[in-house]
């Protein structure tokens, strides 16, 4: 070895020199060992973190389907024109070169330099400071990009607004991502773009799935809407550099089942160079599409219910309609008016729409079928009747109605809108006699009425869409035992006073009478299916639950009530407007008075609660309109429209909806 030969040599100077060189090389190797072997991980991470940008790719949102697999919420391709800035670097350079005009300077060179080949004419660029150069570069880039934007704008025939600030914002913060130029092109624009012979460099047509509601406002309150939210959910990669637009469901099933519908966002990494331009891309975690949600809603019935509701009155209707399968509790339609366009939330709701959505008088966001407390009015007489019959009241017993009723403890008599005369149960029911039901309700006693209400779970939530449900109000037994006076009972008997319900609760009540005394849980979601029907992922089923409670009322009582309901429609009762040929409908109207704190009547909440067909009820329809004229005049015709639509669907051979009928 030459090193050790030299160390042995008897030359102190060279020996020292050898040692110094040996030491120096040793230090270098030790340093390299430290940097390359010991700190390898540290520097590799540094290198990755400076040259990789991660981008969150949102998953395709699951569809929301009705019970016949018709889509209520789906995704449609949205075509966007995007521009890859990294492919424009040649253009940037060329434009930069053009915008710097060279000066030609002639130098008097000494002869020897000219002899050596130096050119006396020299091309020179005006001197610029670093800041000037940066500014010029930015201007040049903007000019190139904005020219391309203008060219695309002429091709797709859509004016473009593209400011320098917008460009700089994208350039400085999102350079690794393409620049979106036009979003949401229509078919003509796409065709024009694809046919144009000269597409500028870097331009690409991007297809992005976008939430789309084919029925625009169909079942909007049940569906809920989307809000922009790019945040990572639990279980997703949270630490990403960029996030593509994503949405989160707000209220409705979009909100309630957001986690299932949303799927799992993926991540792609973009390799960028030192200037931040994209070099290559690599999807290292593909997005998992969201699952599909199958509702119990029947889109056709829902549409019919919405239309009937909107046409119930002139002007803008505030009301709700519920169609339920009495045997299963399946909600076939849950309409609330006014409605709103679900598509207006994509990509972002306009301030004008948002203003309308928050109208203090119309309150379109409120799901009136379950989110608002209403006095049930006369439809509550169904329950009072049940309690009275169960308490032993003879339905054939006649009670004289003088046109009003005096209740102990109240000076002013309560009016009876039914004409004076003798009333048995059926007549009192179809004429909606206050005198009869107050008299017999008080005979049965308030506690019986409350107990029956408790078995129907009035004053409690049904748990359908927890974020938009109110429990309503039913007095407690303890409440009626202390400080409760006769007029309080009288008001409850006719569905007024300290009592409030939702249309959905009334649908459950009518269902229990229709199905023979079973108080069902309403059901809105049937199952959650994987996006790919062939995948071996499990389907999550939400089967019909066993009855929540039993009414505890004899079959005779139920039969008498059902017959009275039928008579209300068919024998010239208050609900005669609900008559539909070929369908035997039984119902009860209601017109609840809304009083202000001083006891003056300020409006009416009108109702029609019904079931059909009489022989074996398969449909329960409850219609409620705020500030309607009367239950029979406003709501019964609307219910008739819904029944006619159902009848038409059945005649067209629509498979029976009562699939789960036991």
């Amino acid at each position: 070895m030459i090193v050790f030969d030299q160390l042995k040599k008897n030359d102190p100077h060279l020996r020292t020199l050898t040692l110094v060189v040996l030491l120096g090389m040793g230090v270098l190797i030790a340093g390299l060992w430290w940097v390359q072997i010991i700190s390898y991980r540290h520097y590799t991470e540094n290198q990755k973190s400076q040259s990789f940008r991660t981008v969150r790719i949102p998953a395709i949102r699951g569809k929301i389907l009705d019970r016949h697999s018709a889509a209520i919420a789906e995704n449609r391709p949205s075509y966007n024109v995007i521009l890859y800035l990294d492919e424009l670097r040649h253009e940037f350079r060329a434009e930069y070169a053009r915008s710097r005009q060279p000066q030609f300077v002639t130098n008097a060179l000494p002869a020897w330099r000219r002899w050596l080949g130096a050119d006396p004419v020299k091309k020179q660029f005006p001197k610029m400071s670093l800041a000037q150069r940066r500014a010029l570069e930015a201007q040049v880039r903007y000019r190139v990009v904005s020219n391309i934007v203008q060219r695309i704008s002429t091709i797709v025939q859509q004016p473009a607004e593209f400011t320098f600030e917008e460009f700089m914002k994208h350039y400085s913060s999102q350079l690794a991502l393409p620049l979106p130029i036009f979003t949401n092109l229509d078919q003509n624009q796409i065709a024009r773009l694809l046919e144009s012979s000269s597409t500028p460099p870097g331009v690409d047509l991007e297809i992005q799935p976008t939430r789309y509601y084919p029925g625009t406002n169909l079942a909007c309150h049940v569906i809920g809407y989307l809000v922009r939210d790019n945040r990572s959910l639990e279980g997703e990669v949270a630490d990403v550099n960029f996030r593509l637009p994503d949405y989160r469901g707000n209220v409705g099933v979009e909100g309630e089942f957001d986690a299932e519908l949303r799927g799992k966002a993926g991540v792609k990494s973009v390799l960028v160079n030192s200037l931040g331009y994209r070099q290559s891309e690599n999807v290292w975690m593909p997005a998992e599409p969201g699952k599909n949600l199958v509702l119990t809603i029947d889109a056709d019935i829902q549409r019919a219910a919405e239309t009937a509701l909107e046409q119930a009155m002139a002007g803008s209707v505030k009301g709700a309609a519920v169609v339920m399968d009495p045997h299963t509790g399946d909600v076939l339609a849950l309409a609330s008016a006014p409605s709103f366009d679900l598509n207006s939330f994509i990509p972002r709701i306009s301030s004008n729409n948002w203003f309308h959505l928050n109208s203090p008088t119309l309150k379109p966001q409120i799901n009136r079928a379950m989110q608002e407390n209403y006095a049930p009015g006369s439809i509550f007489k169904v329950l009072t009747g049940l309690a009275a019959l169960e308490a032993g009241v003879d339905p054939n017993e006649r009670i004289s109605n003088p046109g009003y009723i005096r209740v102990p403890g109240r000076n002013k008599p309560i009016d009876d809108l039914a004409e004076a005369g003798e009333y048995d149960f059926k007549k009192a029911f179809i004429k909606s006699s206050n005198t009869y039901f107050i008299t017999n309700g008080m005979r049965a006693g308030i506690e019986r009425i409350i107990q029956l209400g408790q078995r129907l779970h009035l004053g409690e939530k049904t748990g359908l869409l927890s974020s938009q449900e109110t429990p309503g109000y039913l007095p407690k037994i303890a409440e009626v035992r202390r400080g409760w006076i006769a007029p309080d009972t009288a008001y409850v008997c006719i569905g007024q006073g300290r009592l409030s319900v939702t249309p959905l609760q009334m649908a459950v009540m009518i269902s229990s009478i229709a199905n023979g005394g079973k108080v069902m849980w309403p059901r809105l979601v049937q199952r959650i299916e994987p996006a790919d029907p062939n995948s071996d992922e499990t389907v999550i089923e939400f089967p019909t639950k066993p009855p929540r409670n039993l009414l505890g009322v004899s079959d005779t009582t139920l039969a008498i009530t059902r017959e009275a309901m039928l008579a209300d429609v068919e024998e010239g009762g208050t609900g005669k407007a609900a008559l539909v040929p070929g369908m035997r409908i039984g119902g009860k109207t209601g017109t609840a008075q809304i009083t202000n704190p001083r006891g003056q009547i300020v409006g009416h909440t009108t109702w029609f609660a019904s079931c059909a067909p009489f022989e074996n009820p398969r449909w329960v329809v409850v219609v409620m309109v705020e500030e309607g004229a009367s239950g029979g005049g406003t709501c019964a015709p609307a219910a008739a429209k819904i029944y006619r639509a159902i009848q038409k669907l059945e005649n067209e051979g629509r498979p029976s909806i009562a699939v789960n009928t036991p």
Binding site: I2, V3, D5, Q6, K9, N10, D11, H13, L14, T16, L17, T18, V20, V21, G24, M25, V27, L28, I29, G31, L32, W33, W34, V35, Q36, I37, S39, Y40, H42, Y43, T44, N46, Q47, Q50, S51, P110, R113, L116, G117, A118, L271, V272, N273, S274, L275, Q279
Partner: protein, 402 residues
């Protein structure tokens, strides 16, 4: 001094060193290619204009110069040492004159443009100093005891030192100090002189540093601003007066981040290479432009090699240099006279300083001073100078017997 017995079968040239030099040149050609071809616009230019080809041309030219040099006995060359020395001094003066010296678009005025190519006189000044010092100090050892001679020797180093510092090219100037020191030490200048010399040059370097780092601007040696900041960066000083406003401090911090950018990126390149590297032309630091394109193929070529070939590659490079350096020292030991020995140690000192400072700068052992890596860094003057230096070694070896 013990001479190895003259063996008739001993080769005429030092093949081991030539092999190491050949290896270095091959590595150089491959990695100059890798470092420059990542740049699209460079790869589009004609092949004969590309850096790797030019580098090979310089290798050929340099090897030719080395061979030519070996034909003439070094003692004959040494007779011309005064002429060579003053010639390089003249070039150094010329380079400072604006009409002749050229900045090549960089801050410092270091080049003389000869039309087809340009030369960097400071590279040749190093050789000039080696030859001049060797022939000056090769006189009988007794004479070296005189302080007058000692001062003369110091003057011979300091004159080009100051001129190069004036360009400014701190790195090249600093290389002269170990060269002068080592030739004096091996030449037999009495130890007390050497000790005081080491003390003095240590003092000089620290004075320069203190001046650059802390003195008020009017007192400072005229360094390019970026060079001063490089030193500040290395010593971790932000150079902000204590009473600076927060805005000024933030600006200074930003500046210091920018300044340390090259070193940071070089470190990331070297470190992310790991044991075996990412593969030739697969280094991302260079391809993606994190390692600035302007320096990747010259001052920071080592980090390209280290990234693409890993620890194995960088150790191979260090080993190749070690072979050159140790054969150089062996040649010094075998030289027929003191002149040959001093020439050899001068060259070894110069090559060693280059290698140590350059590789040290890639792993933050040394401040960034712009010293090329012999034979590997792209650059005609540096390659030519390194090969001529190797030629001097071979010359001493070839003529060790005659």
């Amino acid at each position: 001094m013990i001479r190895q017995p003259v063996n008739e079968r001993q080769p005429p040239v030092d093949w081991l060193m030539l092999a190491a030099l050949g290896g270095l040149m091959m590595v150089g050609a491959f990695f100059v290619f890798s470092a420059t071809m990542a740049n699209e616009s460079v790869s589009l230019t004609a092949w004969y204009n590309q850096a790797w080809f030019r580098q090979i041309c310089w290798y050929v030219l340099g090897t030719g110069a080395m061979a030519t040099l070996c034909l003439v006995d070094y003692r004959i060359i040494a007779r011309w040492s005064i002429v060579i020395y003053w010639g390089t001094i003249l070039l150094l003066i010329a380079v400072v004159i604006p009409g002749i010296g050229s900045t090549q678009g960089w801050g410092a005025r270091r080049w003389i443009n000869l039309g087809l190519f340009s030369i960097q006189p400071s590279e040749f000044a190093k050789l000039g100093v080696i030859i001049a010092m060797a022939s000056f100090l090769s006189r009988p050892v007794d004479e070296l005891r005189s302080p007058k001679l000692f001062w003369k020797a110091i003057g011979m180093v300091m004159l080009p030192f100051i001129l190069i510092l004036k360009e400014p090219d701190l790195g090249s100037a600093l290389i002269l100090l170990p060269v002068g020191l080592v030739t004096m030490f091996v030449g037999g200048v009495p130890p007390r002189f050497i000790v005081s010399l080491i003390g003095a040059s240590g003092l000089l370097v620290s004075l320069i540093l203190i001046d650059v780092l802390f003195a008020p601007p009017s007192w400072q040696i005229k360094l390019e601003d970026y060079q001063r900041r490089r030193l500040l960066t290395y010593f971790g000083i932000d150079g902000v007066p204590a009473d600076a406003t927060p805005a000024q401090k933030a600006e200074a911090r930003r500046q210091s981040r920018n300044d340390s950018y090259n070193v940071t990126q070089a470190l990331i390149s070297v470190g992310s290479g790991g044991l075996t590297g990412k593969g030739w032309r697969d280094g991302t630091q260079n391809a993606l432009g994190y390692l600035p394109r302007g320096v990747a193929h010259n001052d920071f070529i080592f980090s390209v090699i280290a990234e693409e070939k890993g620890f194995m590659g960088s150790v191979t490079v260090v080993m190749l240099y070690s072979v050159v350096l140790f054969t150089g020292i062996r040649i010094a030991g075998q030289a027929r006279d003191r002149l040959g020995k001093l020439l050899a140690v001068g060259v070894v000192a110069m090559l060693f300083s280059h290698v140590f400072i350059n590789i040290g700068m890639n792993i933050r052992l040394m401040p960034v001073t712009g010293v090329p890596l012999p034979l590997l860094s792209y650059g005609g003057s540096s390659v030519l100078c390194s090969l001529i230096a190797a030629g001097i070694l071979q010359n001493v070896y070839i003529h060790r017997r005659s």
